[in-house]
Amino acid sequence: MIWNVFIGLSLLIGLVANTLGIVGVLRFPDVYTQLHAETKATTFGSIFTSLAVILYGISKFCQTSDGQYVTLILHALIAVVVLAITNATGAHAIARATYRRGHRPVKAVVDHLEGFSK
Amino acid sequence: MRTALFCVILLVLAGGLLLMATDLSFGHPLRSDMDDYFIRHGQYQTGVNNIVTSIVFDFRGFDTLGEATVLFTAVLGVGLMFRKLHSGEEYEND
């Protein structure tokens, strides 16, 4: 039973984080701030929904000790790790491309990258 | 005029194809004897757990050969497009 509480909690956190992330993508004015919302919030949300799956796998494994739940846990873990790294790097790539394209941050107070060119 | 004609063509095609939505039902195939055979016997006959793979590589392996050939053809085609021409290799096309 205690597992179910944790699973439910993780799912809830994941949902809230994802929702906030998407709302951020919709509300924020420029690419950089949207990337903030997208990268952090949706990655966080996906990690928590996957954490729920992992917890589910652990609880099932404790009950049945079936090999397939090991697979479930490990594969979910790998998916999450891959997702986190690719999201962070992808966000960096998009941000850099946007800057190189000439879009400057909206209402920026400081821009050290301005004169720095390759 | 042209646009109207094209729209009529598209409408007729859409109408004909929409028959699918009424005659075929989603989730309840009309017949499935061949697929039932695959599901019941495929695993034993080929020793493959994944029935899709057993069909792709065993029951319909020849299609897969053809498909690999298509990919090979595309690679050759792309290679032909971006090959280096010999110096002075020209064909008159008038």
Partner: protein, 84 residues
């Protein structure tokens, strides 16, 4: 409706929301952001759905998905940055 299914449905709704950014996004970079968000959400959906369907092997799809859409994003970013 099980909690898993509820989560999945809400996430699908979020995908449709993210599509609003895909439609409106003034520049291509905004659209890439929206596509990235959709991508992340779809991976989450796939992982959760493998519990709904009770089929462990489905998670492989999610891994492939997370891995491969990254390449698409990188190509678009490289093009946007004028480096391709």
């Amino acid at each position: 409706m099980s909690p898993w299914m509820f989560v999945v449905t809400v996430l699908a709704g979020l995908i449709l929301l993210a599509m609003v950014r895909l439609i409106r996004g003034p520049t291509s970079a905004n659209r890439v952001v929206a596509m990235d968000a959709i991508n992340t959400l779809v991976v989450a959906i796939m992982i959760v759905l493998s519990v709904v369907f009770k089929q462990v092997i489905f998670i492989d799809v999610a891994i492939v998905y997370a891995l491969l859409s990254y390449v698409g994003v990188l190509f678009i970013a490289k093009y946007l940055g004028g480096e391709l």
